[in-house]
Subunit: 308 residues, 2 copies
């Protein structure tokens, strides 16, 4: 199996949804990506930064799941990145209430020596210059670089974003962001434009409507599992990305056909993430629950038609 | 194969989209349902009403496709139902500009004698009392009754709507309407509530996001084929319903497993409908084009995962 480098925030989140609210709880892109990827029992390393206020027990949650945390810089005199948000009733839109960058403001990621030859790199949502600096540290071009980003960087650092997008293999982006990045409403046309920016594979996340995978003229559409209740969407996108990258690192098969499976694994893991606040559900997720839900996913999507 | 009764409007539509606008063209639920169902070369009859202004050549378009039009009442002194609408740039929302009920205001559907023993009845969107009156005319309970409806009847005739919903097997409804009918945001919970109103099968149409089929605890999710361009969404829902009901009438297998295939056929036919204004694409649709797109649908959705 391949080694996986995970770059992203490790954070405190405070979340309010129609179902309730939390105090500061464990969050951050690298956290969700790591927890999802750890399901595959691969060798993975998190590259991130936290402050002196960050509990060792939270870091141990990653370490216990075989995520190397040598690359997590602990800035003793600093504070951990903090995000607070409130979801609207439809759970698809949210307001950011507080963003305190804290130690993230000066984050200079350092990939541990032992992971500079990793085959797979998952760049969680961060400033594109930080994402690029991780790729600069790799000894050779990784077999697969997956990048997540958001509209904030399109507004504030578009040139830098284009520079890192040129260097990656897969971009994961939501539908509105794909439209913003390309100026195209049709996701088919938007994906084609993004291909021309560099990535050979484009994953467009549509939340409760599932995810699309594009590779030239090939398309794959994985629906999201319809749920009785979405309790807290925080981290669902990162969990999807972690499942996607983790599965590919595990199987070492970076073909379009196998990426379909990676999308299904990502969607499956994300369907658990939203069932509880923050990381709670992912921290208590058992292998047999994942297997059972994968089978539900098959039931949900597979058909055996006789063409008339 | 089974006989299919199709009840719904036959109309003039005038449509404006970001791509252009039409004069009065052929439209109406029964028209789109009939054109879609005719793909399966079954025995079908349209039950509808038009005015003396309706061109015989339009009726012949149905007749030529083996749709019996004995049940289409031609009110010589009346005018045909006319609808005009304008789509917004996102193609998901539209404004109704004109609704002239004309002969539809006094429509009393009469099912041709030869079709009163039909196994499958497709009730297109109409006043629920009119939909009920069709069921009253059937000699025995049909094997399958499919009903389409819309929010308008929830606002204006909810009791009558509940009475007809009690009598049917499958309801097709869009996501917003499912939420309005049940007061539930989660489509899983909404479908369960609709089950308790009568229908054993619930199809929730989500436009560009596909369609969900529910049957007790079973779910199936057919995505919509991602398109470069949606030219005109008019009739897509009816085309879906016509493909769904037509396929089931053809195969005479009303099981959940076979309804999955019916959903896929419906989605495939609807993906053509939106490519041109009104019925234009459906009138020129060849069998081999449908087969090819069915195969694209398989590519789009099918995966072969090894569960880890």
């Amino acid at each position: 199996m391949s080694k996986l480098v995970i770059v992203g925030t490790i954070a405190f989140d405070a979340i309010e949804t129609p179902f309730g609210k939390t105090d500061k709880i464990l969050g951050g892109a690298a956290t969700f990506i790591g927890l999802a990827a750890s399901h595959f029992k691969i060798n993975a390393a998190a590259v991130s930064v936290v402050g002196g206020d960050f509990p060792q027990e939270y870091l141990n949650l990653l370490k216990d799941r075989n995520i190397d945390i040598e690359g997590v810089d602990i800035v003793k005199e600093g504070k951990t990145f903090f995000w607070s948000g409130k979801y609207h009733n439809d759970m698809n839109t949210r307001d950011t209430l507080i963003t305190e960058l804290n130690t993230l403001a000066d984050f200079k990621p350092v990939v541990p020596e032992n992971y500079r030859d990793a085959e797979v790199v998952m760049l969680g949502n961060l400033h594109p210059i930080i994402q690029s600096s991780v790729l600069d540290q790799m000894k050779e071009k990784p077999k697969l670089v997956v990048l997540d980003t958001m509209n904030f960087w399109m507004d504030s650092a578009l040139n830098d974003l284009h520079k890192v997008i040129e260097r990656i293999d897969v971009i994961t982006i939501n539908d509105e962001e794909a439209r913003q990045l390309t100026g195209e409403y049709s996701l088919v046309v938007a994906a084609r434009k993004i291909h021309s920016m560099g990535p050979k594979y484009v994953v467009i996340k549509k939340g409760e409507h599932g995810a699309l995978l594009f590779h030239n003229s090939h398309m794959f559409y994985a629906p999201a599992l319809p749920l009785e209740e979405v309790f807290d969407p925080t981290g669902a996108g990162d969990t999807f990305a972690g499942g996607f990258a983790g599965y590919l690192a595990k199987t070492e098969d970076y073909s379009f056909e196998n990426m379909k499976n990676a999308v299904i694994y990502g969607s499956t893991l994300a369907s658990f993430c939203v069932e509880k606040f923050g990381t709670e559900r992912m921290l208590n997720l058992k292998d047999d629950e994942v297997l059972k839900r994968m089978q539900e996913f098959k039931q949900l999507t597979q058909f055996n038609i006789e063409l008339l």
